[in-house]
Symmetry: C3
Subunit: 476 residues, 3 copies
């Protein structure tokens, strides 16, 4: 069996990597700013986004990777498979985005610069959020199947939302967070089995695995302003940073307040602290570049913290027991519901936006609202080269709000249907799907350092493997 | 009891957060660079400080948070409560700083941009330093009481020092490090109890908690140049980076040399490595932007390393046993004495500064020394728009040195008196103050993953909880 | 004995630090951009490289430090001694580089700015790579001896390669990675003893030490584009970032594919994941700024991944058992062979480079190929101030390829001969060289928190020290 597994995995991944190289060979080129023989030095300015790209890069690989190390016997997988999946997906996302945005628009090549690397990292985030829903229950090959399909669907969804519906989402809370969460949850529903319910003793943490997880939490918390502001510029970026910072701070305070409140012993729960503190970053993602005013950002963050903690406490157990939707990391509480909150807030903000308060920013933030080229409004408001906006679609604010809602709806439909169908494909007995003892256990796919490998049970000599304990008992 | 605790904490924090939102709603606005409808694109330049802000942000949340995880049974609290306290304080600091610097100067609103976020993070650092002194001995509510008061006092002190006395401190070694340390130590003195002395077996580390702590140490070490240089610009910033880098390098070498020297078995002590290696960053903070010359920075760092190691070895036990000042993290050795050293070095540098060596930088660094507008010196030295300095107070170098000393003295007085009074308030039996087994123990306020939770005793089966061991013994 | 050790180490390090301060006092000055009284504000632009410098800084101290924490009983040493050695070396490297590049060229002072700090960090990387080869087998003093000599030789080698042979190496894969690896391996060969072979049970990991190690791996992985691009600018830098990102992604996929393939149970091996995933960063280092095209970077990364995994599986055991070259971290597989691959790729790229495809970038990347000042080619291609290149040596592409090969050869010769001779010096019984139980064991040089300190044996009660277990047994 291990021979078959080895062959299947190695051959699959080699084929995929070779295909990637060939596709890149035929269709990929450097971004103009990265091409040789370039005389136009203005393109260098894209380097300026490099620090923010690196912040996001840390979030993807350290943030998501370590956040998921909380499971006592699944730490190798969390951080390693996170790296593996992301390495596959960033290459695939460059191709998919290149096809959607360049090849299908008649260009012979798709181009790669720092902005595209950022886009690829964002695409990886979508898949890694779904990974959180199925963590411990999937093999690497299943995750590759999921990731390859999910990137295509999520990028199509983003194209529909951003380019067709012109529904804005600067921090991609709808297109990444909500999409990733509900795609993953739909897949998780399909993959549900009774074995998963029986493995609950391995779903807990050990003391130090919870601290490893905080490495991920805190880096995500720190760099979230770069996630929400990375794709913006000028005053929009500045506002995105301030709003995200304030939203996260308020969310964190509320998370602690409610974590103790809902606990039977009036103590804090590390699960809430590891996750719900971040919900403020998701919830303000769609509106981060809008002039919410500082208090508005704080309010959104506070609401997100409440929703997230209550979700972990009451909704996750309900989903698992009643709907058979098992959500290992609780992505519904960190990415799902806060993502919907973000989308709703974005739609409301759009509907309430007006020129008197927002000024020309209205047209910069919502090209859908910007006047059409021939309209009288265009000549009235546009002052030539100084304006930061181009002719738009001439929607009213309320219409834009409707389009924002539509984009959220489309996102949820594509995510749930796509996730369920992908789950069916993942369920085929082709991908070395983990079963029984392999669930939530590094031992299934990793050579494990036995020393210090936590026991699978709850009680007992904390930190010591079951069979070692028995061995000790026998000796006595 | 747990019902009462839950209610008190949740209600308190919700009220505080609601007040924050209301105050921000009434008084807060975006920085001009973050406002919509902005046509003046020059304000965008403040985004340029974002990478350094993020470095400091990592120091506050990863650096301080993980540095304090060294206690074997207090890792959850260290990194989580650090996040919680900082989230409260950064909001509060934005208000307090807004009142002091804008509202009291007649402005209707206080404004928030990236520079203000950096200021808020700095303010949080002050409180987190004090947290180090009382680590393991305080409840979250006690820390909130401490933090809310400390921010007001430390910001007033900074206002007196910087704006009134014009005593410069680019890396805020006096206004943050010395203040935070002595405020915390004074509070710790008041909170002293015999129970704390008796809990010494829980004050140690376990092997991996010491390594977690190094995550904090090394990130603090790496980003300290951004802390000292973040508020400067141009050549002052460049110099602050070089000086801090060199001071830390020299301090680290000396720390290792003296750590082995003072150890009874001629071995390195992780406590020194986790902390004293950083003293060079504190000690050069006040003078970092001054033309110390590279050797000067290295000398300051070396002296700081010696003071800090000797402090840990001899002074901390003395303070605890003789003066009943229990200093969990040894903040006196990392922030206190090196902060005083920084202040003294700053005063000496000011007193020795002269135009021949420093040129116009003298007036840029010390506006107190810059000539007054109508003086003959002003017309002699100022060459119009090209100059980086404005008219100042016309002090001599020696006078400036005196003002630097005065600021250090004021800082120490406000910190110690304020810390002691705050300690009295914290001692009131209102804040679920930890006692007995709750000291230095996550179990008091956190749902703990029992597996892998280190035992509270020194000896025994390392890594295994006391009662589990007994359970094992009984079985035999 | 401990008295002697303490005295020797403390006095040595104090003398070294005092000498550093004196040398800096006599010969060091700030970079013009960091000097006071500066009116030319253009020099400020060097601050622009600060974010990339900080990325590299994280790689040196967090990346290398934590990568080496995988050994179960050597985590304190890995991260602490990494910090110590680097702190010594960065000061020493500033001196050595100053002598080579400034004092020997007739300048009275060597200058220090952010670019020099980056150079010093790079120099430290060389020594830390060698540290990986001898990890667990050397005392701090031995490492200081090694580092002081290695920096001199590696900087001379770099000077020969870069300045004399004009062999380009933007990410320093030859001058840092290959040099550091083979220097360390040569030293390791000389230091080989049978005691090292017998300590194999301590060479393993425990579960959480493997996860600590991933902190290092992932940060190295994330920031490697800054390592390869940090010394470049403009489109070269942009390309270096894109190429390194793609190479690492491809390398990671291939590493996972081959790690399972070569494992007897068809599982992933954390050693491969911690190390081989990074080989793509090394292998593309020399060519990162060249227009490889995206597929070329991915191909190099893929080959590096294969070489590195196969090296860990087959070559490292062979080197240890047959050639008595014991390579604790497998630096041959991560830095050595991929470094040679980088050098060969660079030579081939140079030999195949041509003006038609590369345009003027050819002359910017390879000053050796740029036309000489009086040549007809110079007047033909050079268009005045707009050109980014100056007159060069007028080599053909094939000649440049030859020089690249020559630089690789010189690097290997100096590294191996220098490393072997340095190893002889390190073997002298002067430096408190570790023996017996002191090998691969923090207990030799650190006060260890006994709780949680993993046992030295393979089996048994995982996580519990041998003697504690015996103690427990006796009690029963």
């Amino acid at each position: 069996m291990s021979f078959a597994r080895r062959g299947k995995f190695t051959i699959c991944m080699c084929i995929i990597q070779v295909i990637f190289i060939i596709v890149f060979g035929v269709f990929a080129d450097y971004d103009p700013a990265a091409k040789p023989r370039r005389e136009d030095k203005s393109a260098e300015s894209t380097i300026g986004m490099y620090p923010m790209f690196q912040d996001v890069h840390v979030m993807i690989f350290i943030g998501f990777g370590f956040l998921m190390t909380f499971l006592k016997r699944y730490g190798y997988s969390a951080v390693s498979v996170n790296l593996f999946i992301a390495a596959v997906i960033i290459q695939w996302a460059l191709i998919v985005r290149g096809v959607i945005h360049q090849l299908l628009h008649g260009e012979a090549k798709f181009t790669i610069g720092i902005g595209d690397l950022l886009g690829a990292d964002f695409a990886a985030a979508t898949v890694l959020i779904s990974f959180g829903a199925v963590l411990g229950k999937t093999s690497p090959l299943q995750l590759i199947v999921m990731g390859l399909i999910e990137v295509v669907l999520s990028q199509i969804n983003e194209y529909i939302g951003l380019d067709k519906l012109r529904a804005e989402d600067v921090g991609e809370s709808m297109y990444i967070h909500a999409f990733g969460a509900y795609f993953g949850l739909a897949a998780s529903r399909v993959l549900f089995s009774e074995e998963i319910e029986k493995s609950s003793s391995k779903e807990g943490a050990v003391y130090h695995s919870d601290i490893f997880s905080m490495v991920g939490t805190v880096f995500l918390w720190i760099y979230w302003p770069s996630f929400n502001g990375g794709a913006a510029s000028g005053d929009e970026q500045h506002r995105a940073i301030v709003n995200t910072y304030l939203s996260l701070a308020a969310c964190t305070v509320v998370t602690f307040a409610f974590s103790m409140c809902v606990d039977k012993s009036a103590k804090f729960d590390m699960v809430h602290i590891q996750n719900a503190t971040l919900a403020g970053g998701v919830a303000v993602g769609t509106t981060a570049n809008m002039p919410l005013d500082p208090w508005g950002a704080m309010l959104i963050g506070s609401v997100a913290g409440i929703i997230s903690v209550l979700g972990y406490k009451f909704f996750t157990p309900f989903l698992a027991s009643k709907l058979k939707i098992h959500d290992t990391c609780g992505v519904n509480n960190l990415h799902g519901m806060p993502g919907i909150l973000a989308g709703v807030a974005g739609a409301c903000a759009a509907a309430l936006a007006n020129y008197d308060k927002w000024g020309e920013s209205l047209f910069e933030i919502f090209p859908g609202i910007a006047p059409t080229y021939n309209s009288t409004d265009y000549t009235k408001y546009h002052d030539g080269l100084q304006s930061g906006w181009s002719a738009g679609l001439g929607r009213t604010s309320h219409e834009q709000g409707g389009y924002q809602f539509a984009a959220l709806g489309v996102t949820l439909v594509i995510a749930i249907v796509g996730g369920a169908l992908t789950g069916l494909l993942m369920k085929l007995p082709l991908w070395d799907n983990p079963r029984g003892d392999g669930l939530f256990d590094d031992g299934d796919f990793f050579e494990v350092a036995e020393q210090g490998f936590p026991s699978s049970g709850e009680g007992g000599m904390n930190g010591i493997k079951e069979d070692t304990r028995i061995h000790l008992m026998e000796k006595e």
